[in-house]
Symmetry: C2
Subunit: 250 residues, 2 copies
């Protein structure tokens, strides 16, 4: 929701400012922010088919332009946070992560953890990264957030989405879709299995996040999906207050 | 020379485009580009005294703003290179380097070397980085370039400067200053020693580069200081053609 998805490279400055304020007023400690691509990274990644990996020299520029678009969005978000007094620090995933066939294998989060220890709020993002099998690919913010939480021993991941959490059906399409307040690891695995078997996402678009969150939940991280469109929800989530949302728990 | 030093955040777009063309027409292979801060990084780094390290919370925003200014300049340069057909890839030094009391000690250039192997031209820069002793500091492009060359076994470093090389005196002030065509490692060390003893730079502003280049020259890297203000010089240097310049050699 930090961009207008229908218009390329259009930031939703009002939403970014509101979320920056919510983060600031929550008084973040040991916080890491990860954002997605919205209308910055996605159109270019799609145009050049960056996620599939190298197939033509023309794509190399597309890889780089996708990263540059993400840098542009990241700068807007970092500067909004700085403007609200949050000691944000931009960290570029592609500058230190190489994936192996689209997945993070070995990674050294030393700069991220040092930034947190130094009092900064690192701000990372889904990015076009080098890949050992495909030359390059797309690393999603979801995969990155889950791995960061696991490796750095985070207590919690808060996924800000545009609905209240995981539903029994897509709440934007199905009127009697019900919010699921808590999902266990085995329920998560069941949903992912059904999704893979039927090639359909019964959760209202949350299957990717549920799938990526699996290893983090298994490692003891609590995962919360919250509606970041509703003013105050991100603030309340960061403060640990009770809100309408979905919890993923071991 | 890629910025107007007297006006904050003013890129010299004509110079950037010309240099991007010279790089493109030289047909770079195994090239890494490192640029400085010009009117982007320097004014903010100075205003917040970032190089000295942490002394107040206010500086943390200054650290981050300095990096963001460098990101902005880097984006302009990367996009100019892409525009001329060079497969440039931005790599942010502060995302993977932590200095120890202002110096790079351990560093893993895996992403940089993989980028080169994959056919990209990595573009790095002098940056505001985390530091284990001072919390943060400034890492100069000169220190970074020398270390990159040493660790990755580069054949050569080309320093683009605004004079023809190292002079017997500052050529902008002293009329009969003479260009020194070659300096040996022991001559370089002598100059650095004199500079430290007298707190004066007798080389026409090149002492920092000579000092940083020392370990690279010692490791067998040839270092060339060339006048990047003169059209064609960077192209000729990259092609290995004979030009008026200063060589630093073991």
């Amino acid at each position: 929701m930090v961009t207008d998805k229908d218009r390329p490279k259009t930031a939703n400055n009002a939403a970014i400012k509101r979320l920056a304020r919510e983060v600031a007023s929550a008084g973040p400690r040991n916080l890491i922010v990860v954002h997605g691509g919205g209308s910055y990274g996605h159109p270019l990644a799609k145009e050049y088919d960056v996620a599939a990996g190298y197939s033509s020299p023309r794509q190399m520029a597309g890889f780089s332009l996708t990263h540059q678009a993400m840098v542009e969005l990241n700068s807007i978000i970092v500067e909004a946070l700085l403007g609200e007094g949050v000691p944000a620090m931009s960290i570029a995933p592609s500058s230190f992560i190489v994936t192996e066939d689209r997945r993070i294998s070995d990674v050294d989060f030393a700069v991220v953890s040092r930034a947190v220890e130094s009092g900064f709020v690192p701000v990372l993002y889904g990015d076009a990264v080098l890949d050992s099998a495909r030359r390059f690919t797309i690393l999603s913010g979801d995969q990155l957030a889950a791995r960061l939480a696991t490796d750095l021993g985070a207590a919690r991941i808060v996924f800000g989405v545009d609905v209240d959490g995981v539903y029994t059906a897509n709440p934007k399409l199905v009127r009697d879709a019900r919010l699921i307040e808590e999902l266990s690891l085995s329920q998560m695995r069941g949903m992912v299995k059904i999704g893979e078997a039927l090639s359909t996402d019964v959760t209202g678009g949350m299957l990717g996040k549920i799938s990526e969150a699996g290893p983090a939940v298994e490692a003891g991280v609590e995962v919360q999906l919250v509606n970041a469109l509703n003013p105050g929800v991100v603030h309340d989530a960061l403060r640990g207050e009770k809100i309408r949302c979905t919890w993923l728990r071991r």
